[in-house]
Symmetry: C2
Subunit: 330 residues, 2 copies
């Protein structure tokens, strides 16, 4: 069943109004949303778009596309220690869009609104002669004067990441070439793990309070660990030293790396991790680790900020050559 | 000269960083922008996207495309009596983009930043296999508790518009069919006026303070006067009565209407005016008109809100049949 396609007003009323749970959204009946001021909190704003065929596969499930569009933005809020205030979504629909597809898309947004406690504030629907795309702007509240930037790291501080690194980049390769499951000796569950990690990033919003409390510099890893560590180091005018042997890999990624040496470079430099990269003062490391554990987010010390510039990657004390170093979506 | 195309980082540094004049933009070196709280002001947010071939012509000048993308958003702020706090822009570039084009685009943004006193806060650049598109999110400050919505109008109130109506819709037709200049008996300056009004909307930000002070309901007219008056009336659960003979037309539009009766329907129902539609209490009408004149924005009383529902259009006391009634970009 595809159903009859409504016009823009009907589309907003039927699909998007139920998502506008915040009073400031005015049920999407107005031209703007209002964003209340919260005492002691600073408003932060970020925007990221995803395009079919560039950032996701056109045949990805509609709900996963919606969630990815929202989550890559929530991930930026998490990296800055902010809790979401709401989001706006612009959806550009190609000529052949169906009601079924849009129902799935809206279900994805609804599920993530529930999971991350966020409301739709507004948006726009346009049609496009090209591929489908989604642009999201997310607003969040961070403790006033405690927004960790990219440029706050200093030599001697430790470098931490959340979760595991490289799954999404390996998942993307696997999506493009199924035979890699054999090359990498993956079990069925490993394969699904990697594919899922590409499909659906996990914004680390439950770590937001801990990020505000401890991080001297922070960002989310969207263009690969090594490249993004380089950006953080460069903004802070320091160097970064990453110990590849301590970089956390999932069981699936570990199997791939054990079977195929090139998979390690993919894991360390490939994009779409959406884990957090944090600089932490060594005196705070114990407290940070224990608070992160209490928040239910695994964190791993993968190296240090040092005098100088650039990123050096070592494994068991020896330099590792990774080739290009960074992945760019653009 | 097309010049060498930089990667995303170089592109931000060279083209967009100079636009990030607000401290909250952190020179676009971070993942989020901060938006300061202003005492007694309420933060409002809106988003609108434009797509090549749908909302503008691919061969429009790059600076005009940029300005239109920004201005359709600033127009929403003006309609809510808000002054701009800043904006975020996502630009999706097709494969064949050139440095020349991007220079023009950025010059357009820079000119409007100067004209409207607004700073770039952040954004995203992506590539697309389809046509170029731009998504803008604009943030603004409105007097706390004085944001006029669409639903505040009451029977007996007057209906006002700013500027002149219908120029952009006529300009679009003219752009699609140059021979209409003859049909409409246009002078060269008239033709250019109509084309320009389609190309470059005029956000009525200088009226923002007057809107806050007097409007009981307000919106910008993007989908045609009659259709949008219907939306405002419907949100307010009232009817609207528009006197077509009092609706302000430019000299160019007047010539078109005098020569071609169908041009009147186009002017009253066509899209892209980006003028404001305001409901004003009759007791405030004199003060409103005089304050609007002081702000340098022409306003015209074109009718009234009445009991009931729907929109009636009259000319010299007789009903006018306009056909479809509203233009939809979607």
């Amino acid at each position: 069943m595809t159903g009859r396609r409504p016009g823009e007003e009907g589309l907003i009323a039927r699909f998007f109004r139920p998502l506008a749970t915040s009073p400031g959204a005015a049920l999407l009946l107005d031209d703007v949303a209002t964003v209340p001021h919260v005492e002691g909190r600073e408003l932060v704003v970020t925007t990221d778009a995803i395009v079919a065929g560039v950032h996701f596969f056109p045949d990805d499930p509609a709900d996963a596309i919606a969630r990815k569009a929202l989550r890559v933005n929530l991930s930026d809020l998490a990296a800055k220690g902010a809790r979401p205030a709401g989001y706006l979504v612009t959806l550009a629909l190609p000529r052949d869009w169906t009601v079924d597809w849009l129902e799935g898309f809206v279900e994805g947004l609804a599920a993530d609104q529930e999971e991350f406690g966020v409301s739709l504030l507004g948006g726009d629907t346009v049609r496009t002669p090209g591929p489908l795309w989604i642009s999201v702007t997310a607003l969040g509240y961070a403790p006033e004067g405690h927004v960790p930037r990219r440029n706050g790291a200093a030599p001697g501080q430790r470098l931490y990441v959340t979760g595991t690194i490289g799954d999404a980049a390996l998942g993307l390769l696997l999506r493009q070439d199924e035979s890699l499951a054999l090359t990498w000796d993956l079990r069925r569950a490993d394969k699904e793990w990697l594919l899922d990690r590409y499909l659906l990033p996990e914004p680390r919003l439950s770590l937001a309070g801990v990020v505000s409390a401890y991080a001297t510099a922070s960002m989310d890893i969207s263009d690969g660990l090594v490249g993004d560590a380089g950006k953080l180091a460069s903004a802070s005018r320091v160097g970064a030293l990453i110990d590849a042997s301590r970089t956390p890999l999932s069981r699936a990624a570990s199997r791939a790396v054990a079977a195929d040496r090139e998979a390690l470079a993919v894991a360390l430099t490939g994009g779409d991790d959406y884990e957090l990269l944090l600089a932490i003062d060594p005196d705070d490391a114990d407290a940070f680790e224990s608070d992160a554990a209490a928040a239910g987010v695994p964190v791993t010390d993968i190296g240090a900020l040092v005098e100088g510039g650039g990123v050096s990657v070592e494994a068991n004390g020896r330099p590792l050559d990774l080739g290009a170093g960074s992945f760019a979506h653009f």
